[in-house]
Symmetry: C2
Subunit: 413 residues, 2 copies
């Protein structure tokens, strides 16, 4: 059995679901990327005995434990004391840490509450990870030949400390040489089971070696993701395996792959528009500004995005966008909206959504009935889609479906 | 020591952080609401030995374990087999469950893959929780005088099964009589530490009894939440404690409390508009449709929301909204946008955002510089705010700040 790490998230608010534990997921990603095996994560409340027990259980299963949270200045923040008990040592106040904390308050023109001095307490024999953002230092605490790390629960403080100090120390202890790399191919236009069927040949071929692996993940407005993960003795070896498998998957899936890794559909569409020197405007009914808001989030969107009209009321469709009188959940309305908004906003390309988000029907059409309009050059058309799910899901699916239509049109046959 | 439950989330994709474990947080909320003590949550990958070990560890600490995930039809879905091993019994195929699964496929006009029959396998001696949404049934598995529940990992399948079957069974076993209730007061207009300072008197008063408790939670576009949690022997007792404390907190915080529990700022604003019989239109620059999209998400928004214009390009501000030539990150532009959009869309009230989301400055203004415009009746004004954080955070803060301005205006002095 190789070297193993565990993550222990500490905080009653996490256990009670008052806030979502995103830290453990992030740490899981980082450990995987660095090839450090970790097979278990735990979550425990702000209770001394239970934290001590959870730490002991974790150290029984693993060689290293990363504790996250409970390093603040209040009486709920008892991670330091729990680790000291597990180490069998007292907490010792470090005057130089107290000075650093006092200095951080002074730099902000504030007086340090006395309670913040608790953050200068360190289990005897532990090393300190200097605090750079928040006032809580991190800790590296030897327990026999194993180790417990303590980092703050504030996500950006935790991330900075992990990247700066914890992961390097951990890799060294773990003697990690292997490298795990992964890549996500993002798709739209096929269901999760449809993707699995198409890729059955690849999955069978990989099952023998177990490396790389392929997994699917439906991600709402982000599309359906195909994740390829490869393991190698070196980064080069892992990269080569990954590249080869990604090429094989792309060859099978073709145009339904719209991007890889963190590139969103709206970034892809923005890139295509920029390359053609064209600008975009969007008319939205059921999506109500969601498409525009996603487009604006793309860095540099001002180069190709003019803006949009949220024509939620039917009168706005007729009066502002020039949609002819008649049903608004229709092919004709979607086309008129796309054409109207590009004219009004002086854009080269117009897009439009009109449909029934639900929960109730509209113009006799059931929820999920959506028309996606497109006006590019001389082409003016609309396609009809039936989208599953609740109101929010229908709106999200309408967004990505609309942008994918534009992507396919701009990419050409 | 009372009756205790634990949650065990199963799935390598959770451990590796490829998807966020929202199920455990939801289950934590439900257990707390029902007064079932739970002090630990775990997360383990799709590996038989590790799931077995995690289940045994959990049963060692707790009386009941709710396992979530790993009930699908693929070779990764091994929760059934792991539980059977912990129970020391074989898996037995239930022909009637197989019929139900086959029937679900047929109802959708599809043929059932043979692999789905795995979902009809049940540890000997376990009871089945009928599947109503997905194809996987849930399980209630006795282990000595303790119990393991297994539910699917798909959030709405899991939630439906927990609410229908698991929580009632668990309350019965736990002999729960105490009730925990909580309420969230949502605020805007004061920082987290500012809220804590204002409420120091209440917090000190409660510290003696420890019941109710008060906690703070900054929630981006949802505002800063003040959560009050009260414990009673009966629902009535808990409710009375909660009501009294909520009234005390409201008395201290006054108008910065804009709603409670799940009511969003946009729903509050919608209610105020509906009561006055007025309609709203929004002109958005840096928020780019985010305000409109949030408004459209409110059920019944069509009663009071006309729509909006996303005037991302400066020309759109000038040409479509009639903003005079000159700087667009300005008081004059914000007022002209708010007034222009209500005129264009025929609404009673106009709102506008213009500013610098970042990362780079614009018109010599630093990121975070935002003007919020408002046009109601004869009043036309704009306020200037400086918002902290990155691009996404600035946009979110601009949304809620804008809507809060309208709320305070509509509520009157």
């Amino acid at each position: 059995m190789g070297y193993r790490a565990e993550v222990l998230a500490i905080g009653t608010e996490l256990l009670l679901g008052q806030i979502l534990d995103t830290n453990s997921a992030w740490m899981g990603q980082q450990l995987a990327l660095r090839g450090i095996e970790h097979v278990y994560q735990g979550k425990v409340g702000d209770n001394h005995e239970r934290i001590v027990r959870a730490l002991r259980d974790a150290l029984d299963r693993a060689d290293a434990v990363i504790c996250c949270g409970g390093l603040g200045p209040t009486q709920d923040d008892i991670t330091r004391a729990a680790i000291a008990e597990v180490m069998g040592v007292p907490l010792v106040r470090h005057p130089e840490l107290a000075d650093v904390i006092r200095g951080m308050f002074e730099a902000r023109g504030r007086t340090m509450p006395e309670s913040n001095l608790l953050q200068a307490d360190v289990p005897e024999g532990a090393s300190v990870i200097e605090q750079r953002i928040g006032t809580a230092p991190g800790l590296i605490c030897p327990v026999g030949d194993k180790v417990v790390y303590a980092v703050p629960g504030v996500p950006y403080e935790m991330q900075e400390m992990l990247e700066r100090a914890v992961l390097a120390d951990l890799s060294l202890r773990a003697g990690v040489t292997g490298v795990i790399l992964s890549r996500v191919l993002r798709t739209w236009g096929e269901s999760e089971s449809g993707l699995a069927e198409r890729l059955q040949g690849r999955i069978d071929a990989l099952d023998a070696s177990g490396n790389p692996t392929i997994a699917f993940l439906a991600s709402g407005i982000e599309g359906i993701k195909v994740r390829i993960t490869a393991k190698g003795d070196t980064a080069t070896e892992a990269q080569e395996l990954l590249d080869a498998e990604a090429a094989a998957v792309r060859a099978v899936l073709g145009r339904i792959v719209f991007s890889s890794d963190d590139e969103t559909m709206e970034a892809v569409v923005g890139g295509l528009l920029l390359a053609r020197g064209q600008t975009l405007a969007v008319a939205e009914s059921l999506t109500g500004g969601m498409v525009a808001s996603r487009l604006v989030a793309v860095p540099g969107a001002s180069e190709w995005f003019r803006g949009g009209v949220v024509s939620y009321a039917s009168e706005v469709k007729h009066e502002v966008l020039g949609v002819p009188e008649g049903p608004v959940v229709s092919e004709a309305a979607a086309i008129a909206m796309a054409d109207g908004v590009r004219r009004l906003l002086g854009a080269d390309v117009g897009l439009a959504t009109t449909g029934v988000a639900g929960p109730t029907e509209m113009e006799g059409q059931p929820p999920g009935t959506v028309w996606l309009g497109l006006a590019v050059g001389e082409e003016r058309s609309a396609v009809h889609v039936r989208l599953p799910g609740d109101r929010d899901r229908v709106r999200q699916m309408a967004c990505i479906s609309l942008l994918d239509r534009l992507r396919l049109t701009l990419q050409g046959p």
